[in-house]
């Protein structure tokens, strides 16, 4: 069956002849010239009508029938090729034309150019049902190669096998001055990769023997030039001088691909071919390969086709062919290792040396896997090789196969390969992260070698800060690889640190950029965005504190510590606009998804809570890259904080009235909960309620991360640890209005605060420890305190309500975070600003989840407690006087507070009169265009509208209850899609009622 990817491709392709789809895939879109804007002949070729094609075919036929294929033939064939290849849909050529193309291809006298074109057209037509091409009688090896290319394109296994037999036959014919065999070896290689069983066992053995000969016993003399016919037509030409090494010295040993000269003999060509296909051949024909088991049948040896030169070898004759080939391959690789040490005269040869070294090590690896007796000999040359390579940055890419070798064989050879890995994971990513190819290879290496790391996996895991440098610098091609790699990289010990680093990934990109700018000489710099200049950054780097953070961010291994990088964000801000940084930021949500799906596999409740908190606390402390924060917010689990009702709130508000948009905006704008975060949050709720399996998520647990987040936002400088420990709060200092209305709540947790400590602002901040750390009791006050902390701040912001001097208030607030911190207004201002972002969410959560349908412990008493707290909060934020130093309370907070109070009242109906009164007051307050900290005109409008709507709803308590506390299943999509289910109907009705009432009632 075709795989899904293929299916989808085909579906797209068949989507119909859309104007887009045809030209997109059709080839030959523009003139091949690099100059843009020339008229494009492509459409002419693509849309050529059948009769025109017929005419061209007739012309081609006429030209091909001519005896000497006139000069027009290539031109006509080129056009034919273009027409056939320029569309993804089939072009039908007439049978005579097809037949002529095949005849021409097989004609022994036809010039190469025409044959190539015929083969290209036939290949473009393939798979083709009416092909009668056969390779049975072709002697010319070059021509056989062309025919083979057409046959292989048909995708017919039977054809592949018969081709293999034909090629083998020609290969074995051994005519002294016969056809050049070098055109055949690539076919053999291709055929065995396509159909591993195409060669018989004895054929495989015979060929192995010959490959060994070609590898080891190629001529060491150069071929002489011929005036015509090419140097390869007469392989054993008069020889002239020995071949040389890449550094110009006369070759001291046998010929290899790194031996050079003016002209090459046929067997030297075969040597190159043989080495090029060696690794694949060893894998395919060796033990575990798909064909030809390594029969130790020495009798085969006699029947093998020995080359003349191999007769020189002595002991080798006694080896079975497979072993013979391995022996020769080993010698060849050893010689390559030696040759790679020479200084090449030409740049191209120097590149080839590296590629050869990589291949040699890979071949040695295969040899040792197939025959462990090679191991000790190999180790003795690989150890010095590693020492040599690690000192030379130019050879860095060759280190990967060496490391892979040690991974495969380190244990068997009792070699401690730790040093190899240490060097690999410590130095290379840090120094070469900017090489895209190395980055790709390195990550591939990690991915492919995962099962082999065994006890060395720890090195890989702790090196994630280094590995992430590759990702940060080359995010587009590597993101998918890291998604695959993350589950193996993360464990319980590193999860927290890794999550921090993932969130800081764009910052890491910027830091790496800065590092490159500061370290390297201009000539050595890899290309980067020169349009962004950051001289200030470089200077600021000299600051010792910043240096420390910088080094922390660029650490090579997991440190087990977490640093707040905020100063670094500011410093690196000029680089935030770099395309590379933006690209990296775009990859982060995908990586976070992979991270969390990996973490949920092993995380226990404590870790899950820790990560959830971390996400919330980092949700507004991110490096400011355009669109980054939104990207992270759009995904991260806070969406999961509205578990299954997630999709409910928005349709609800939306259908109620479009005018309530400010409120909608205040409710968390998150997409329907993704499954994984919800799963993840399932962990967050951990075994708090072991006896209540059906409803494992208790409200406070759901809400408390939010409280924590809010605390962290308001107190950015305090460490999480200190905030979680109950702080010294002298009773008097914190006694704002909040403490009075919270007193009911604080009764529930005397242990936390201890005697003599008042319920100051920090009460709410200390609280989250309870449900998060133990989650044993039902800590009612959690949300209340959340609200109270908001209320506290807002209350403090509301100067004069309690007649407290502003400084005192500031002090009361600050004491919550750090006793030594000097009084400053900034936190308060920030808290109020943040209130706009956060408080509605949190208050909304109270209204949404404080219900028996979520937790049967939500008794009337609990609801009343919450109600009282929120009522006081609303009162405080609306009644405070305006202040020049403090911003106004945002209308979203007020509207959400009103809605939440109404929701609570709908669940405890005794409260309805109270909330009605309150809402009427709010309406009046809004009407009188509000002094105090109530917002400006648009806010007043929203508040007024909201109050009116809520009042109207409360007039019908049963409707109100249905609307405000819908059953859990309304989160199922069906309730929103299907117009016949009750919900949309009811919402429409209610909406109409409310709108009408709103219209009737005087404003």
């Amino acid at each position: 069956m075709f795989t899904t990817g293929a299916e989808s491709l085909l579906r797209q392709a068949r989507a119909g002849p859309q104007p887009e789809s045809r030209p997109v895939t059709a080839q030959g879109g523009v003139s091949g010239s690099l100059v843009a804007g020339l008229p494009t002949p492509s459409s002419l070729f693509r849309e050529l009508r059948d009769e025109e094609l017929g005419r061209l075919c007739a012309r081609v036929c006429a030209l091909l029938r001519e005896e000497d294929w006139g000069p027009d033939a290539p031109d006509a064939l080129r056009r034919l090729f273009l027409i056939v290849s320029a569309t993804k849909y089939n072009r039908r050529l007439e049978r005579p034309c097809l037949a002529l193309l095949q005849t021409t291809l097989c004609s022994p006298t036809c010039p190469e150019q025409l044959q190539l074109l015929c083969a290209a057209v036939l290949r473009e037509m393939s798979p083709c049902d009416s092909l009668s091409l056969s390779c049975d009688h072709i002697q010319n090896t070059r021509q056989l190669g062309l025919v083979a290319s057409v046959l292989l394109a048909q995708g017919d296994q039977q054809q592949v096998r018969s081709l293999a037999q034909r090629v083998l036959k020609v290969l074995e014919s051994r005519q002294p001055e016969g056809p050049s065999l070098r055109h055949l070896l690539p076919i053999v290689s291709k055929v065995t990769s396509l159909a591993p069983d195409a060669l018989r066992e004895e054929q495989t053995r015979a060929l192995s023997k010959r490959l060994g000969d070609w590898l080891r016993y190629a001529s060491v003399q150069q071929a002489v030039a011929h005036s015509s016919g090419g140097f390869f037509s007469t392989p054993r030409a008069r020889q002239l001088g020995p071949v040389t090494e890449v550094d110009g010295a006369v070759a001291t040993d046998f010929f290899t691909v790194l031996s050079t000269g003016q002209r090459f003999t046929e067997d030297q060509w075969l040597n190159v071919q043989a080495f090029s296909m060696l690794r694949a051949w060893l894998l395919d024909s060796g033990p575990g390969g798909s064909s030809a088991p390594d029969a130790d049948d020495k009798s085969e040896l006699e029947g093998s086709t020995l080359s003349v030169l191999s007769a020189a070898s002595t002991a080798g004759h006694l080896l079975p062919p497979q072993q013979w080939l391995r022996e020769k391959a080993f010698e060849y690789c050893q010689r390559l290792l030696e040759q790679s040490n020479r200084r090449a005269l030409k740049k191209a040869d120097s590149d080839l040396q590296k590629a050869c070294l990589v291949e040699a090590v890979l071949v040695l690896d295969v040899l040792c896997q197939q025959d462990p007796s090679f191991l000790y000999r190999t180790l003795s040359c690989l150890k010095p090789l590693h020492t040599r390579l690690r000192g030379d940055p130019a050879w860095v890419r060759a280190l990967l196969p060496v490391a892979q070798f040690f991974l495969h064989h380190g244990e068997a050879a009792a070699v401690d390969a730790e040093a190899v890995y240490q060097h690999l994971f410590t130095r290379i990513p840090a120094e070469h992260f900017h090489s895209p190819m190395l980055a790709f290879e390195f990550v591939q290496f990690c991915r492919d070698s995962l099962p082999l790391f065994g006890r060395s996996l720890g090195i890989l895991r702790t090196s994630f800060p280094n590995l992430f440098k590759f990702l940060a610098w080359n995010s587009p091609p590597l993101t998918s690889d890291f998604v695959a790699l993350l589950p193996s990289l993360v464990d319980a010990g590193t999860a927290v640190e890794m999550l921090h680093l993932l969130l800081d990934l764009p910052c890491l990109t910027a830091a790496l950029d800065l590092q490159l700018r500061s370290l390297q000489a201009a000539s050595e710099r890899p290309p980067w965005d020169v349009s962004i200049r950051a001289p200030g950054c470089l200077e600021a780097l000299r600051d010792s504190q910043v240096q420390g953070l910088f080094q922390h961010l660029l650490r090579a291994h997991a440190s087990g510590t977490v640093e707040r990088l905020t100063p670094l964000y500011r410093l690196l801000q000029p680089l935030a606009g770099c395309a590379r940084v933006v690209q990296c930021a775009e990859a982060v949500p995908t990586l976070l998804r992979a991270f969390f799906s990996a973490v949920t596999q092993f995380a226990d409740g404590a870790l899950a809570s820790q990560l959830a908190l971390l996400l919330l606390e980092r949700s507004d402390s991110l490096y400011q890259v355009p669109g980054y924060e939104a990207g992270v917010h759009r995904w991260v689990p806070p969406g999961g904080l509205r578990p299954s009702c997630g999709s409910m709130a928005q349709p609800w508000t939306g259908s109620l009235t479009p005018r309530a948009l400010p409120l909608t905006a205040a409710v968390p704008q998150l997409p329907p909960t993704p499954a994984q975060p919800r799963h993840f949050l399932g962990h967050c709720t951990h075994p708090s309620l072991p006896t209540q399996a059906p409803r494992p998520r208790s409200l406070p647990e759901r809400v408390s991360p939010l409280l924590k987040a809010q605390f962290m936002r308001a107190h950015p400088r305090s460490s999480p640890a200190s905030s979680l420990v109950g702080q010294e709060v002298p009773g008097g200092a914190g006694t704002t209005f909040t403490s009075t209305w919270c007193s009911g709540a604080s009764r529930h947790r005397p242990a936390l605060l201890g005697p003599g400590r008042g319920a100051g602002v920090c009460v709410g901040q200390a609280q989250p420890t309870g449900p998060l750390a133990q989650g044993a009791e039902l800590p009612v006050p959690g949300p209340v305190q959340a609200a109270s902390s908001t209320g506290g701040r807002a209350g403090e912001g509301a100067a004069g309500v309690r007649g407290r001097p502003p400084q005192r208030r500031a002090r009361a607030h600050i004491r919550g975070e750090a006793a030594a911190a000097p009084p400053q207004p900034a936190p308060d201002v920030r808290a109020c600003h943040r209130a706009e972002v956060l408080s509605p969410t949190q208050v909304w959560a109270i209204g949404e989840y404080l219900s028996v349908s979520w937790d049967r412990r939500c008794t009337v008493e609990q609801i009343n407690n919450f109600f009282e707290a929120l009522e006081a909060l609303l009162f405080e934020v609306t009644q405070s006087r305006p202040s020049t130093t403090l911003p106004k309370c945002p209308p979203q907070v007020i509207t959400v507070l009103m809605t939440t109070l109404t929701k609570l009242a709908s669940r405890s109906q005794d409260l309805i009169p109270r909330v009605s009164l309150l809402l009427s007051k709010m309406r009046t307050l809004a009407q009188s265009a509000a002094t105090g900290s109530t917002p400006g005109e648009e806010g007043v409008g929203a508040i007024h509208t909201r109050a009116t709507e809520l009042l109207n709803l409360l007039k019908m308590p049963s409707v109100a209850q249905f609307v405000f506390t819908p059953s859990v299943e309304v989160s199922e999509p069906r309730y929103h899609r299907d117009t016949n289910t009750a919900l949309p109907l009811v919402l429409r009705t209610v909406s109409r009622l409310v709108e009408r009432e709103a219209g009737l009632l005087p404003g």
Binding site: V30, Q113, P127
Partner: protein, 199 residues
């Protein structure tokens, strides 16, 4: 082993924005589909191959653009000033990425690509090829194609000179076999090619 080679446009002109065009493509053999009980018919197989190549070309185009952006190089002024300007292949953007099994090929593949001015060259490789060799071969092919097809000359057409491309590929990448060719071997093959295709 190389599974496919392709040349495609990188930065389409304004009129064709968003269109990535494959100018030349070549498969070396076909993928086996052992699980494929019933043959799908020639037409469908061909369509699938064309779509696979296009999928690769699109990805290469995005990768190339992203890399250029990341390096702060604007995409617009990459047209050659004149045909005499040497193209510095070393400075051309290049990279590699992985294609997972089934998307779009049945087996996992690695793509090595090189962007030269407005042309993209790409090799679709089997999963565990020697990438240093593949990268070197791709650069070599790009250089040869640029030189012998004189792609930088405004009137030159890549489309109507398929025989040049085929001639180069059969020598330097026979049946998709990556070859360890030292400089002298390359020169020898190049001479042989030039003799068969005088410029």
């Amino acid at each position: 082993m190389v599974h496919a080679f392709l040349i495609h446009t990188l930065r389409a002109t304004k009129a064709e924005e968003g269109l990535c065009r494959v100018l030349y493509s070549c498969f070396f053999g076909t993928e086996n589909s052992p699980n494929d009980a019933q043959p799908h018919g020639a037409e469908r197989d061909r369509l699938l191959r064309k779509e696979q190549i296009l999928a690769v070309a699109r990805q290469v185009e995005s990768m190339c653009q992203l890399q250029l952006q990341a390096c702060g190089r604007p995409a617009v002024d990459l047209q050659p000033q004149s045909s005499d300007d040497p193209v510095h292949l070393r400075e051309s953007p290049c990279g590699a990425f992985r294609l997972t099994a089934g998307d779009p090929f049945q087996e996992p593949r690695t793509v090595v690509w090189l962007g030269v001015l407005s042309l993209g060259f790409a090799l679709v490789l089997n999963a565990h090829e020697n990438l240093l060799l593949a990268e070197g071969t791709l650069r070599l092919l790009a250089r040869l194609l640029l030189e012998h097809l004189r792609l930088l000359v405004p009137t030159a057409s890549l489309l109507l000179r398929a025989d040049y491309i085929e001639g180069i590929l059969t020598r330097f990448l026979p049946h998709g076999q990556l070859l360890f060719l030292n400089d002298q071997f390359v020169q020898g093959l190049e001479k042989e090619f030039s003799a068969a295709w005088p410029r």
